[in-house]
Subunit: 336 residues, 2 copies
């Protein structure tokens, strides 16, 4: 069987089935969350890695090298945030076509350094090599947390509210613009493109949630709400209901949806790469959590739904009807 018939998530399941028997007793969480969790002498260590491939994750003609470097670090910091952790170190592997301009690489490393500095992460080095054709970047971030702080995907409880830290669908609309499939006035287009090219890691917000005792599960929205909330539900053996009317959708995404003749809700639940933090939290603690996050970082916390018994993710329309949300998120291996 070819990989594009099997699909990415089935492949990950296949790896995961082969792997657990070989894990040491110090491994609290291997495959299946935003980062691996291993025992360390004081607390736990978090380790995450993300690979970015030219033509799959980015297009060099619409992304500046500085943006690419910054995003490569950010998506890994976002994984540490989604575990409630504090990042400390990063390693970078890069494979570069030999005719690449050195100035482009300098800018890429500047972009990485900028994000690393902002979050007090040390760039420890890594590996540099040639690539015959495509630029390939791999970043590893090491972080830590107290064991009781770690926010696993598997922690969601029935009755939890489902919270997100920002508007949804922006990055996907931005990608449509970058691919030349959507044209909007620049006042609307620019923030969407920036959402795609310059995501933010919600580290401070995640830490507040992690130490609050109120948050039970977390994931970062890399594949899209329907897909990522689905991961949380499967890992926690619960279901979720998302209220269409409560989804934070920017005016620019609404304009994009109109132009694309699609439902803005489908952009919001199916669009990937927003890198918002999704939390599930005890309902009676949400107000206090929102207040603490608001006063620390000014970041909003939108309540978009609830965790219920059952399985799968459902979308509740304003008329009360419910439909199942299939994981429309990104599968890297599926043939289109």
């Amino acid at each position: 069987m070819k990989l594009d018939e099997l699909g990415e998530f089935a492949f990950i399941d296949r790896i995961a089935r082969g792997a657990p028997k070989d894990l040491g007793a110090h491994v609290l969480c291997g495959i299946g969350d935003d980062a691996a969790v291993v025992e360390a002498p004081h607390g736990v260590q978090l380790v995450t890695t993300d690979m970015l491939i030219e033509g799959v994750h980015f297009l060099r003609d619409v992304t500046t090298p500085r943006q690419l470097g910054a995003k490569a670090i950010t998506v890994n910091l976002s994984d540490i945030a989604a575990m409630g952790g504090i990042p400390r170190d990063a390693l970078v592997s890069i494979a570069v076509p030999p005719d690449t301009d050195v100035a482009e690489l300098d800018a890429l490393y500047e972009g990485m350094g900028e994000v690393a500095r902002r979050h007090e992460v040390s760039l420890l080095g890594g590996d540099t090599t040639a690539s015959p054709r495509d630029l390939c970047l791999n970043v590893v971030v090491l972080g830590h947390a107290a064991p009781e702080e770690v926010l696993y995907r598997s922690g969601a409880r029935i009755g939890d509210r489902v919270l997100v830290t920002g508007t949804l669908g922006d990055a996907r609309a931005g990608l449509e613009i970058l691919l030349g499939r959507l044209d909007l006035p620049s006042t609307q287009a620019d923030p969407l493109v920036r959402a795609h090219l310059e995501p933010t890691p919600y580290l401070a917000e995640a830490r507040i949630a992690a130490i609050s005792g109120v948050a039970h599960a977390a994931i970062d929205l890399s594949d899209g709400l329907s897909s990522d909330l689905g991961h949380v539900c499967r890992a926690s053996s619960v279901a979720a209901v998302v209220n269409a009317g409560d989804l934070p959708i920017s005016a620019a995404v609404r304009a994009a949806a109109e132009r694309l003749a699609v439902d803005p809700v489908s952009l919001a639940v199916g669009g990937g790469e927003d890198y918002r933090l999704l939390l599930t939290a005890a309902p009676d603690g949400v107000e206090a959590l929102r207040g603490r996050i608001q006063e620390t970082s000014g970041c909003p916390l939108y309540d978009v739904g609830e965790i219920v018994a059952g399985q799968g993710v459902r979308l509740r329309r304003s008329d009360g009807t419910q439909e199942e949300l299939r994981a429309t998120g990104w599968d890297h291996f599926r043939a289109p």
Copy 2:
């Protein structure tokens, strides 16, 4: 300037110059050794990463997926060995062309798992993604050691003997065979090809050296003796003299050199990917160290030269003449 004009090592220097100012106080060693070294609550943590790109580091038509998986883990374990450390965890990122056969990936993961199990390393997961054209693998290995055990490249002292754990040039001769540029009877060809495709990490030997107090510096021979010993000399502000007559060169490499009409010594000092461990050690401790390694693993320890004052690496011929050894090792970015 294009990257292939600048060269790999100049590019690494360039990254290193930009990076140190951003390192936290916990970083004992960032860029510039086989692995990064960071303070951990008990001892130090070692982190290393290596990226393998199809067409640069391996050819899929002459490497089995199992061999590729095993080698991807091995080259990282070899970096941990070269710091005197104990590996514990590994993460794997893989970018796969969508039409790849799933059986090929299963075999690749089996190869990784086999080496990981043998050395009690836990595979924690990683990242899976599509690649438009070339298979790309990135492995990270985390290890640990006591701070005083770590074998830095910078530890070589004048008077030290230069020791290697196996014959040299075999992997390079094997590559010539794989590329169809060399033809030898299979009794000679097979071990050379295996040396290229199935290297071994010298973890047990490195640990004995690390705790012996006799070994002062270490590096693994990935680029070739002249290049890698050059790294040790630069990092330690010393020079080295290699005795041509003392280089361990297998009969198969001698046969390969004859067929290729090259000096076998040039294959031994310039050939990459042998992944032998190179140590520098106090001369009066070498015998005891050799004995301990011999009795534990049966591995030989060849004395190939000495550390002297000055800079650079020189080759001393049996007639006493010396010539400078240029770093003929592999530079990934240089135009041929």
